[in-house]
């Protein structure tokens, strides 16, 4: 299967500090589902930042969507970012905007008119169970509702790559199951999903997902991804 992301000897350091990521060599297949695990401080969030183009590697090369983007000029990055949906650990909803407008933001940025985005945004809010909360501001939403708005915003553009950082860190078990259901549904539609999590339950309940384990800034199993748990049909 074609790769959506390829890391070749990638290293990352912040300023003059030690490398937080080193010698990363792996590829993510199109329509794959990946869990990124590892202890706190292993470099999961830094790796995700490289994936959603919020950070450049200090060495090595990263190809995303078939393009070498490690040293691409910053003006060239927005079109690629529009192919990536990001669910932040802290949601990062814009507090002045309603749930509807937060979800609509990627479509507006991409140039959609109010008429064009009305239907998809309503549909997306219904899909995450927030149809009746469209006009609510983030401050009036519960943690789980904010999380779902953040997810709706991340997927409204039908991204080719969805990156989620500890998406279940702020929600209860029931909500975590519902979120995972959303991710797998998206994955079945062809979106590559990368979820950074400590939640073992989340990992073990996702059949066929691949596992990337980071420790001390490196991938623990350099030979490839562990499949965990084994596919039900295998």
């Amino acid at each position: 299967m074609a790769a959506i992301a390829e890391f070749d000897s990638v290293g990352l350091r912040y300023g003059t500090g030690a490398e937080v990521l080193r010698d990363l060599d792996f590829r993510l297949a199109e329509a794959g589902f990946y869990f990124l695990t590892g202890p706190s401080g292993a470099g999961k969030t830094s790796l995700l930042k490289l994936l959603y183009l919020a950070q450049r590697p200090t060495r090595g090369r990263i190809r995303l969507f078939g393009e070498e983007l490690s040293e691409a000029p910053r003006e060239a990055l927005p079109p690629f970012r529009r192919k990536i949906g990001v669910v932040f650990q802290d949601f990062r909803l814009i507090r002045h905007l309603s749930a509807f407008d937060n979800v609509a933001l990627p479509l507006r940025v991409a140039g959609a008119s109010d008429e064009e985005l009305e239907g998809p945004v309503r549909e997306m809010l219904a899909w995450v169970g927030l149809a009746d909360r469209a006009s609510a501001r983030p401050a009036t939403l519960s943690g789980g509702e904010q999380q779902r708005v953040a997810i709706a915003r991340a997927v409204i553009n039908r991204p080719q790559l969805l990156v989620a950082d500890e998406p279940t860190g702020n929600v209860d078990a029931e909500m975590a199951k519902r979120l995972l259901h959303l991710f797998t549904a998206l994955n079945r539609l062809g979106t590559t999903v990368v979820v950074a999590t400590h939640d073992v339950g989340l990992i073990t309940s996702t059949a066929g997902a691949d596992l990337i384990r980071l420790e001390n800034g490196g991938v623990v199993d350099p030979t490839g991804m562990l499949r965990n748990p084994p596919p039900r049909n295998g």
Binding site: R74, E75, P78, R81, R92, H96, R108, V109
Partner: protein, 290 residues
């Protein structure tokens, strides 16, 4: 359309919050705009006064003759008949004595007092002053002709210096206003760093992010500029009676149509400058991010 950024949709306007005129920026710009308006109006009025005064005395001379009052009629006749002279006006001997009386008292009326003669006259441009001087010296050898412009030139020079000072102050105040806008833009960038990160993260270009700030700062700058300019105009109107009195003394310290147009354009020019500077500041800051 180039000004599309000014007419953002309601959600775009809400991205940075809708609380306007709460920060110091509009007020700082209003104070600058007020000061600029007053200083610019003063500078323009001074320029007009200096211009009209300079024009009025460009070809005006004074004939001074110590102890020449008894020859006043002959001197006036000599000047009037000289080629190139267009108007002659003698200061009557009685008026001279009246002036001298302020210092000398009743002695000013003494027939023994040598009273000078003063004759003001205008010439056509290029008139031969030497020929006029020769004519009057035939009557009074001590006669001196002086140009009014030589006597008034220190005043004119001071007025022009003040005019340039006003221009410099307008530039300085504009620079101060733009510096305030740069600080405001940087403050806004810090305040909304989170929103910028989100916007960049979902694929917004620098141009799209900049337009949010540009619009907000343009509106603040326009409100401040217009507010300050209106306050300045009111103060100028209140001073109008005083200005007309001064105008009577100075020979017309008035503002023409062009001057009013310049003053009218000043707040918009200040807004345009502030918006452009804010745009540059935001774009420069964004380029430091990924």
């Amino acid at each position: 359309m180039m000004a599309n950024w000014l007419f953002a949709s309601p959600p775009d306007r809400r991205l940075l919050g809708e609380t306007r005129f709460r920060g110091p920026t509009p007020w700082v710009i209003a104070i600058m705009s007020f000061s600029i308006m007053i200083i610019a109006a003063t500078g323009l009025a001074l320029a007009n006064t200096a211009g009209s005064l300079s024009e009025a005395i460009a070809t005006r001379y004074v004939l001074e003759v110590p102890n020449g009052a008894q020859n006043l009629d002959a001197l006036v006749g000599a000047v009037r008949s000289a080629p190139g002279v267009t108007a002659v006006e003698a200061v009557p001997e009685s008026e001279m004595r009246g002036t001298l009386e302020r210092w000398l008292g009743p002695a000013a009326k003494s027939a023994d007092l040598p009273v000078p003669a003063l004759v003001n006259f205008d010439t056509r441009p290029g008139a031969d002053l030497r020929a006029i001087e020769q004519r009057v010296r035939a009557i009074a050898p001590a006669a001196q002709i002086a140009a009014h412009r030589d006597k008034v030139s220190p005043l004119l020079r001071s007025m022009r210096e003040i005019q340039w000072l006003a221009f410099g102050l307008v530039l300085l105040l504009s620079a101060a206003a733009t510096a305030a806008v740069v600080l405001a833009a940087r403050g806004a960038l810090d305040t909304h760093r989170f929103t910028i990160e989100v916007m960049h993260g979902i694929g917004a270009t620098d141009e799209q992010v900049t337009q949010l700030f540009q619009r907000k700062i343009a509106i603040d700058a326009l409100a401040g500029s217009l507010g300050g300019a209106v306050a300045g105009a009111i103060v100028l109107l209140l001073l109008a009676s005083g200005a007309s009195f001064a105008g009577a003394i100075m020979g017309g310290a008035t503002l023409g149509l062009t001057d009013f147009l310049i003053l009218l354009l000043l707040p918009f020019a200040l807004t345009a400058l502030a918006t452009w500077v804010a745009r540059r500041a935001v774009l420069t800051a964004l380029r430091e991010t990924l």
